[in-house]
Amino acid sequence: MSNDSIQTATEIKLKMNKVDLHYGAFKALSNVSMDIQRNSITAFIGPSGCGKSSLLRIFNRMNDLIPIARVDGEVFLDDLSIYDKSTDVTYLRTKIGMVFQKPNVFPTSIYDNLVIGPKKHGIKHKIDLDDIVERCLDQVALWGETKDILQKPAQSLTPGDQQRLCIARALAIEPDVILMDESCSALDPVSTAKVEELMMELQEKYTIIIVTHNMEQALRVSDYCAFMMINPERAGELVEYSLTVDMFSNPTDQRTEDYITGRFG
């Protein structure tokens, strides 16, 4: 990434302030504070089980699905306090879309996968829905391949195309932020390259956070990098958070350096 794009993107889109996450009595995240820059790609890296997914899911309140999960601290999307009692989770999730590890297209047609979100949020006319389908498929470079097979089952696509469809589905609700939890880990190298290219294009309009195990990927696509690890109490901690180029060339924390060199080794 060029330095220009970083310097012009200084507005804060998401903010975490002293966040703890508990699963029941187990503290999974301890005292995480971070600012996510608008129109940037931020990568969460760290060993398995250090809480990357948990941290990511705090932003769109997916942890609400887990009855024993409890979040303390403050989290903001622009001025919206994400964990405020008056916050409408449905609205929040239309602003913060998510793409999962395995492509999870619904067992319906390509078209229906894309319109399900917009329909539920009040768009009724077929012309408008058709427009959304074309725009979103175009954004993920699937329109050419799929425009004649929109009524086919989405599950008949290749895994790589399914994952791009999932990204298109997230774009269809016009979010500001897109969360991607190891979204390339189930894909072959060619599909991975396509999705990475897509992330960098989407960065112009969206704020993107990815979780990845792949150091090369973090280095290739991300502007900022957050390295996490479990502390002696087994809770996940944010060890280092900086520009990706800085972290990979000149990590400030010994643990970061060990992890990065170990992963590249």
């Binding site: 449905t90 999870n104 297209v105 619904f106 067992p107 399900i116 979100g117 997230a170």
Partner: protein, 281 residues
């Protein structure tokens, strides 16, 4: 393990498996041998669509009983299926664990009540209620449908619930991540995804209803005539066999077996369809 003892246990299991299959073959062949000649004699069309059942005059038309079976079964489906599906959704998606642990065994218990008890309860409770509040003799399609609806609930609920629970949680997560609320997630993602299992549940429920005998003998009134409303009595294919079997001889007896063949075919078709739909992905 010793290969001889392995062979032996293999043979034992094979023999046991074979015996259950051979029971099926035996019953099928027996019914066919007993019932097919009279169908051939009367003619399939006249037997199935004939309007008169008068064994003493040698007239064997089972159409009113087909109508009886079908109407009581459709009634049971109309009453039982929506309740069963809603109950399954509740158990799979909403019920807190404690409530689930009470509901599930309770529903299984429902499946364990002998059908004669259902019939008896229907006779002393449902039938008089219908007679008093809606008119007619009380012994009616409606009474049978209500009883059958309750009897198919365990089948519909458990198969629907299993097929909802078998869905990968990624569907639900995906839907919620799009900002759908819980109900939208269920109606537009979960139910369509579980569709084939739910259809199978309904078909197996219907198969259960159409094959039921004892409970409906007691509440349907058993008149061999085309019903004009749900408050009229009917006779089903199963009750026809159940009622007359004891004293039937000769052609009459054969005609009852022939009724059994028709029933057998209907249930085979339903079960095969259910299996085909459930297996289709």
């Amino acid at each position: 393990m010793n290969s001889n003892s392995e062979k032996l246990s293999h043979a034992v299991f094979f023999a046991l498996a074979l015996s259950s299959i051979s029971a099926l073959v035996l019953i099928t062949v027996f019914i066919l041998v007993q019932g097919a000649p009279i169908i051939a004699e009367i003619g399939l069309f006249k037997f199935v669509f004939g309007m008169t059942w008068a064994p003493l005059k040698g007239e064997f038309g089972i159409f009113p009983m087909i109508v009886g079976s079908v109407s009581a079964t459709i009634g049971a489906a109309i009453l039982g299926v929506p309740i069963g599906i809603c109950c399954a959704i509740f158990l799979a998606e909403f019920a807190p664990p404690l409530m689930r642990n009470i509901f599930r065994p309770a529903i299984q218990l429902l499946a364990g009540i002998p059908s004669v008890v259902y019939g008896f309860w229907g006779l002393i409770f449902i039938v008089p209620s219908i007679r008093d509040h809606l008119g007619g003799p009380g012994l009616s399609i409606l009474a049978g449908s209500i009883i059958l609806a309750i009897m198919i609930l365990p089948t519909v609920i458990s198969i629907t619930e299993v097929s909802i629970l078998a869905l990968p949680s990624s569907y639900k997560e995906g839907a919620l991540a799009l900002g759908l609320n819980r109900w939208q997630t269920i109606s537009s993602v979960i139910l369509p995804a579980a569709k084939s299992g739910i259809i199978a549940a309904v078909i197996l429920g219907i198969g259960r209803a159409i094959g039921e005998t004892m409970a409906v003998i007691m509440v349907l009134g058993n008149a061999v005539a085309l019903p004009e409303s749900v408050l009229d009595p009917v006779r089903t294919l199963t009750t026809n066999i159940g009622i007359e079997m004891g004293y039937a001889v000769g052609a009459h007896r054969q005609a009852l077996f022939a009724t059994g063949i028709v029933l057998f075919v209907i249930i085979m078709v339903l079960n095969t369809t259910a299996q085909y739909i459930a297996r289709r992905k």
